[in-house]
């Protein structure tokens, strides 16, 4: 698939989000932009405070009351989602987009059997009658490989394990065959074997339904296994976007390289594991430099203080750096 020919499913353009808090305004996300193409898996990787979850909430329109979108557009099939009203957004959520969250059990309604919760989504968005929706809900549970789906559909979330709850969430999310699935740390907190199964399941369904996936994670290794392209975020900026293989073998941004060097998976010994220098800048500052990595960057030079460039190294590889590697 060549991006020059294919039209992106979703385009985020120049998006900025701030939070008003008691201790000041947090500039959580600053003028980020990326595209998601139909059927691809894009991973957004970043540490805590990088703004990755905020980005996904902004796309879905479920930001906190204290949040303000101060610039940018989120284009989906030509319409800017940020300008849509809540009624229209509710239609889009669930039918075109779906989202699954980090703590599946807390994201489900604890006092309603899971089968009914899935059926709710179906009746709301697919216009099915209650009994049809329930029947379809059981089908969907089987699709996510939950054994004995009729019995499980009657279960409450507390009766299910974490992995099962996440499957239910996936079932809910995918029941209306959305075009885009946003998965915000879907397997954090789950055991490794369950994590693998869940991620593979998402991958299979995405492939079968031609669905695009936006995977938000702090785990670079996980992203490398699941994603076609990876966007690396740091302190509210996207510093690099590249196809997975290119990003891992030849990262062009110093932060990406440091992140790879700090991730245990490939390092053979402890001494090869390198800490990322410096610390995250305080996002409440008014005097944040245009490149928010510059204060930590060992390659910092005088001309790094100009406005942040976005270099397009190739059709699918962009990096935001004055002196890419």
């Amino acid at each position: 698939m060549k991006p020059d020919e294919v039209v992106p499913l979703l385009t985020v353009e120049d998006l900025s989000v701030e939070f008003r808090t008691r201790s000041g305004t947090v500039h959580a996300v600053d003028r980020i932009g990326f595209d998601i193409y139909p059927g691809e898996t894009l991973a957004v990787v970043g540490e805590s405070g990088s703004g990755k979850s905020v980005t996904s909430y902004a796309i879905m329109g479920i930001l906190d009351n204290a949040a303000r979108v101060t610039s940018g557009r989120v284009l989906f099939r030509g319409t800017d989602l940020l300008k849509e009203d809540e009624v229209r957004m509710r239609e889009i959520r669930g039918r075109e987009f779906a989202m699954i969250f980090q703590n599946p059990r807390t994201a489900l309604n604890p006092i309603r059997p899971v089968g009914k919760q899935i059926a709710d989504v179906l009746s709301r968005h697919a216009g099915l009658s209650a009994s049809e929706a329930y029947r379809r809900a059981i089908e969907v549970l089987a699709q996510v490989k939950i054994p004995d789906p009729e019995r499980r559909a009657r279960a409450y979330p507390f009766e299910l394990s974490g992995g099962m709850c996440q499957r239910v969430m996936i079932a809910m999310a995918l029941s209306c065959r959305p075009a885009l699935l946003i998965a915000d740390e879907p397997t954090t907190g789950l055991d490794a074997t369950i994590q693998a199964v869940i991620m593979d399941l998402i991958g299979e369904i995405a492939q079968a339904q031609g669905m695009a996936t936006l995977l938000i994670t702090h785990d670079l290794a996980l992203a490398s296994e699941q994603a076609d392209r990876i966007a690396v975020m740091h302190a509210g900026h996207i510093v690099e976007i590249a196809p997975t293989k290119d990003l891992l073998t030849a990262p062009r941004h110093p932060y990406t390289r440091s992140l790879i060097a700090a991730t245990p998976a490939p390092a053979a010994s402890l001494s090869e594991l390198a800490a990322i220098p410096g610390a995250l800048p305080d996002l409440r500052r008014d005097d944040l430099p245009p490149c928010r990595y510059s204060e930590r960057c060992p390659r910092h030079e005088a001309d790094c203080d100009g406005p942040l460039p976005l270099e397009r190294l190739s059709a699918r590889h962009t990096v935001a750096c004055w002196h890419p590697l």
Binding site: E47, T193, A196, V197, A265
Partner: protein
């Protein structure tokens, strides 16, 4: 190497009420076998990893070893002295208390919100090694320095510290009374990748400088591989495989270990790898059948032998032990296993 900590046949059972049934007829209560016959040892200066997924009993096991919990049966010796027979409630008064300390998983939860960092680090010293005010202050400052904690942070409360700083306070507190064995319960899983690196380096440095032994629990095999020379793999309350990290991770003998390793994401550039998928339900920990291998219900390669005699943990050469009737071993080691195939869980060890 001299053995520092030795655990033999540790068992921990919790009584649990079974639903349904007439109460007077339920004479024998059901039991969860959280830890079911675990034996292992940690030598001086060694770093031993303990891996396993949630519910495998590793948290219960280390709490027994750290003497926060009493085992139902089994022995624990430390430096040759029996510490298992002293009840957990009284262990705080024993001189051995200072020798075994622990670093917890969630730095936020393990620090008292009303204690400053100074108070937190000083607490064990005040209780176990009482000294004059000036000496105490010097000691706390020294521990803070050792753990890379700037002096001015000592007067702060946990909510004013970052995740990495809180983790350092936890480590400083554990080291303040000069323990010989440090148990680390997933010390970096709540931390960002960049902070994790720093803490891991710190732990390695401290180990070398202070001559510590570590029992390092983690669900992240990649981290265990970096820090630990030997590793124990636990499943459903039992150790299923034990050996040097290089051997166990390089060529896992137990099917569970193999499945676990294949599930961990690696930074390969080939995309999704072929995985060993575990189908089936985990066995219930309540009143498990001693003659059935606990892993059988999810094992990709079990036979009827696995349901008639639970496999015991047996040596398979070069310091390795596996509890499986059909371990994947190099040809040279297969012969050694043949003779012990008919073992069951009821044998000790």
């Amino acid at each position: 190497m001299t053995v520092l900590l030795e655990a033999r046949g540790l068992v921990k059972r919790f009584a649990v009420k079974k639903d349904g049934g007439w109460w007077p007829l339920n004479r024998r209560p059901s039991q969860i076998f959280a830890v079911d016959g675990v034996s292992f040892s940690v030598a001086e200066g060694e770093t031993v990893g303990l891996v396993g997924e949630s519910g495998c009993g590793k948290s219960t096991l280390v709490r027994i070893v750290a003497r926060l919990l009493d085992a139902t049966s089994g022995e624990i010796t430390f430096g040759g002295a029996d510490i298992g027979s002293v009840p957990a409630r009284q262990f705080g008064r024993m001189p051995q208390r200072a020798n075994i300390q622990m670093v917890f998983q969630d730095p936020t939860d393990s620090l008292n919100p009303r204690f400053t960092a100074f108070d937190a680090i000083a607490d064990p010293v005040r209780r176990l090694r009482p000294m004059r005010r000036a000496d105490l202050k010097a000691r706390v400052f020294e521990m803070a320095r050792l753990c890379g904690l700037p002096e001015e942070l000592l007067s702060r409360f946990p909510h004013q510290l970052s995740g990495g700083q809180k983790a350092r306070v936890g480590i400083a507190r554990a080291l303040a009374v000069e323990p010989k064995l440090l148990i680390l319960d997933e010390p970096t899983s709540a931390l960002d990748v960049s902070v994790q690196v720093v803490i891991l380096h710190l732990l390695q440095e401290l180990k070398e400088r202070l001559g510590l032994s570590y029992l390092f629990i983690s669900h992240d095999l990649n981290v265990v591989r970096l820090l630990c020379k030997r590793v124990l793999v636990m499943y459903a309350g039992r150790i299923v495989e034990q050996g040097s990290t290089a051997d166990v991770f390089g060529a896992p003998a137990h099917p569970y270990t193999a499945a676990l390793l294949s599930a961990i994401p690696s930074m390969s550039t080939e995309g999704r790898r072929a995985r060993i998928v575990l189908t089936g339900e985990p066995v219930s920990p309540i009143d498990p059948d001693p003659n059935v291998c606990r892993f059988y219900s999810r094992c990709p390669s079990g036979t009827s032998l696995c349901t008639s005699a639970g496999p015991a943990l047996v040596p398979v050469g070069s310091g390795r032990e596996v509890a499986c009737h059909f371990p994947r071993l190099a040809q040279s080691e297969v012969g050694r296993v043949e003779g012990v195939r008919a073992g069951s869980y009821n044998t000790t060890g």
